[in-house]
Amino acid sequence: MGDLTPTKALELHQKMWEIRLFELSASRLYKEGALPGFIHLSIGQEACAVGACLALESNDYITSTHRGHGHCLAKGASPNMMMAELAGKVTGYSKGRGGSMHIADVAVGVLGANGIVGQSAPLACGAAYTAQVKKTKQLALAFFGEGATGAGPVHEAMNIAAIWKLPVIFFCESNRYAELSPYDVHVSVPNVSVRASNYGFRGLTVDGSNVAEIYEAVSTAAADARGGNGPVFIEAKTHRWHGHYEGDPMTYLRPADRDTENRVDPIEQFEKLMAERLKIGDEAISAAKQTAAEIIDAAVEYALNSEDPSPGVMYEDVLA
């Protein structure tokens, strides 16, 4: 558990619950027809978002993906405005124009979820470049999946980041599937973190269900990047518990991945560690979970009680 203080641990823990409950609520609302379009949930991957984002400063940047709810919440976006956006309401981050795949809160460093696989990487390099030119000591962290590492723009971004020594962290949530097909359709090597060696920077693979390990890995990488040593690639091996999108029948799952009994729950596992190693009592743990539940329930309520956007919203912000 490295140097994790009980306070920090409780923070990580509560955030994971916020994400879990946000996603479960979204899943339910989707089934009920209250959320339109496509949504992609990150249940099972909470430790990645939380471990990574809580290791950053609040003015650091992240760029995210189609599976971005966890990232945005972990970096500090408002659950209310997020859920409202998922519901297509005018109170959402994009006034209902964007939906689940386009949540951003620039004030807390979230430069946006993104519906185009791979774009998170070069966009993050741009934020890192700004930090470098302006000497702000900020950094940028790009989330993406193992599927995205097959995409050209990710490679172009890593190459540029290496040459320019940009303060950027490439954080890959390697969750066994990309859309409907397994890891080995997309990657020919056991650990996608070797991608970094291509460009001469550091790459490592961590347990994506272990929030403490991720927190530590990202903290070290962040110090590296801020110190001018350039990028780091972190692969977190994790599981996507739900389908690619809600409603996905998951007929393509490999037998080993059908076994939901024995899979590690990153939150449960962390709760055990909190109790055993940090001696955090049950009440504190339940209280954090309770707080998370209240936050998310409020977000659902906020979203459902919000107004639809008026037609004019459709024409705004096309140009600055």
Binding site: P36, G37, F38, G88, K89, S94, G96, R97, G98, G99, M101, H102, N114, G115, I116, V117, G118, G147, A148, G150, A151, G152, A178, E179, L180, S181, V185, H186, V187, T251, Y252, D308, P309, P311, V313, M314, Y315, V318
Partner: protein, 341 residues
């Protein structure tokens, strides 16, 4: 020797997405050089079940899942086409064509020309585009105009299961790079398709008159065709008799069918989901007016979404896209009361 197809056509209706599968199956049975590449086209059968069963029937050499590398595998398909295969390529959403413009535009469209006629590039690229399913700004675009702007490509956009079947089969047999721009909002739609042979071909480059009428010519594209027909049926009761033309192939565009309709109606409405500036509608108007600047009795109208990205929220997207109401309203304004039936 004819192999029976899996969907006995007369018995159950054909879905738009099953027409895709059927076209591929028939053509892959007919010609072993036809292969299928794309993200999740293999064992999973695709996000819309559009390739279900093909991996099982044709095996992993001919039906192959690719990594997420639209530029790479589109270019790969072109290299394969230059050396004897006839690849079909899936790009999941039309918006992702932005990732493989170079292979399409700088390679496929020009290789035959640049290499002195030494090669052909028989690739059929299909993709699910257009809006209507609340997929938001990056998953709802209709980019047909880009490809219609480029010599060396063909572009089709089927508006029904039947047209999908016949056009896709022709595309696969065509020796050029053909883009087939399917409409997401039609994926689950179905119709009785009375075709029990496996050689049903709709020629590329031919418009179809989907409804005969006398007052106004409506050129409708993709998912807009049904909406236009529905509008026309309603308007008929009000004495407005619209002729509906579906170009089906956007490049090369069959302007003659449109012109001869206009000789009769003198009024032109174009309805498409693509943006208006430099779109197919602009091209049709330009061709008509170049042909005869006095042909039209009233200003032509392009009914398209506003010049803005496609909004996510259902209420907004409903307003954004042309629909039966806005088509009807426009036609009412175009056909003067005294000329109606």
């Amino acid at each position: 020797m004819k192999t029976p197809t899996d969907q006995p056509a007369l018995e159950k209706p054909l879905k738009y997405y099953s027409a895709v599968t059927r076209a591929f199956r028939e053509e892959m049975r007919r010609d072993e050089n036809v292969v299928l590449l794309g993200e999740d086209v293999g064992p999973s059968g695709g996000i819309f079940a559009q390739t279900r069963g093909l991996h099982k029937e044709f095996g992993p050499d001919r039906v192959r899942d690719t990594p997420i590398a639209e530029a790479g595998f589109t270019s790969l398909a072109i290299g394969a086409a230059m050396t004897g295969l006839r690849p079909i390529v899936e790009i999941g959403f039309e918006d992702f064509l932005t990732a493989c413009m170079d292979p399409i535009v700088n390679q496929a469209a020009k290789l035959r020309y640049m290499l002195g006629g030494q090669v052909k590039v028989p690739v059929t690229l299909y993709t699910f585009g257009s809006g209507g399913v609340n997929a938001g700004p990056q998953h709802s675009q209709s980019l047909s105009a880009w490809f219609s702007h480029i010599p060396g490509l063909k572009v089709i956009q089927p508006s029904s299961a039947r047209d999908t079947l016949g056009l896709l089969k022709s595309a696969i047999r065509d020796d050029n790079f053909v883009l087939c721009l399917l409409c997401k909002s039609l994926v689950g739609s179905k119709e009785l398709v009375d075709i029990d042979n496996d050689d049903f071909l709709i020629p590329l480059g031919r418009s179809e008159v989907k409804r005969v009428g006398q007052h106004v010519t409506v050129v409708a594209i993709g998912a807009m065709v049904r909406r236009a027909i529905e509008a026309a049926e309603t308007l008929y009761l009000e004495g407005i008799d619209a002729e509906i033309i579906d170009p089906r192939t956007l490049s090369p565009l069959d302007i003659r069918t449109i012109l001869s309709s206009l000789e009769k109606t003198k009024r032109l409405l174009i309805v498409h989901e693509a943006m208006s500036p430099c779109g197919i509608g602009a091209e049709i108007i330009a061709k008509v007016i170049e042909h005869n600047h006095k042909l039209l009795a009233s200003p032509p109208v392009r009914l398209t979404p506003p010049f803005a990205p496609s909004p996510f929220s259902p209420g907004l997207e409903d307003l954004y896209l042309p629909n039966q109401d806005s088509i009807s309203e426009t036609l009412r304004n175009m056909v003067p009361e005294n000329e109606r039936l």
